[in-house]
């Protein structure tokens, strides 16, 4: 199938890349909104911090931590994309912003995975 005909960008693709970036941005935001109260609560138990930190050594928690930091990076990248779209002069190549956002997120995820 010729994906370039009639200006259609791939006949089967109903949703473009911008849609997915926006959805990731939204879902990561929801995840962060749920995570934050837990994060604040955990830190406020500073007196028992060592016990809590021991608990965070568990593999499941480490994976979840990595996930939430990736969510933060994704939300951050998506947010920058939105700010650029709204405040910088418009360019036709806005889709590359979506790719950039994804790239930055992946980078952060990788760095953190190495750190952990």
């Amino acid at each position: 199938m010729d994906g370039n005909a009639s200006g259609a960008r791939g006949v089967r693709v109903k949703k473009g890349s911008s849609y997915w970036v926006a959805i990731v941005h939204r879902v990561s935001g929801i995840a962060l909104a749920i995570f934050l109260p837990l994060h604040f609560w955990a830190l406020s138990t500073a007196l028992q911090l060592d016990a809590f930190l021991a608990w965070t050594r568990q593999p499941a928690v480490l994976v979840a931590e990595w996930g939430i930091v990736v969510a933060l990076a994704a939300h951050f990248a998506g947010g920058l994309r939105v700010l650029a779209l709204e405040f910088l002069p418009w360019h036709g190549r806005q889709k590359t912003l979506a790719a950039l956002a994804a790239g930055v997120t992946a980078l952060v995820g990788l760095v953190l995975a190495l750190a952990l």
């Binding site: 939204r26 935001g29 929801i30 962060l32 909104a33 934050l36 109260p37 994060h39 604040f40 609560w41 955990a42 830190l43 406020s44 138990t45 500073a46 007196l47 911090l49 060592d50 930190l53 965070t56 930091v69 933060l72 990076a73 951050f76 947010g79 920058l80 700010l83 952060v108 760095v111 953190l112 750190a115 952990l116």
Partner: protein, 94 residues
């Protein structure tokens, strides 16, 4: 402004997490550190404002929640975030 805060926070956490984490290490850096207190106070307040604004769109579009009850609920959430956040900041600072 949040963008800057997030960058600083991410960089700090990635740096801090290198080589393991203990309470003593964290608290050694945060206790009595006024710069830290100022930064994280700004961060907490900014987040407490930002999160409800984002959730507002989600509630309207995905939960079909309209009207004053939604905005009141979000205001309460904002207050809760700010309250819990400042408690955490002060707990680690004091």
């Amino acid at each position: 402004m949040l963008a800057v805060c997030v960058l600083v926070h991410l960089a700090t956490i990635i740096y801090a997490v290198q080589g393991g984490l203990t309470a003593a290490e964290i608290l050694g850096r945060t206790r009595g550190n006024h710069a830290w207190l100022a930064f994280y106070t700004v961060f907490v307040l900014a987040v407490s404002v930002h999160a409800p604004i984002g959730l507002r769109a989600v509630f309207l579009e995905w939960l079909r929640w309209r009207g004053a009850s939604r905005d009141i609920a979000l205001a309460l959430f904002a207050g809760a975030l700010a309250w819990m956040g400042m408690r955490a900041v002060l707990a680690v600072f004091a």
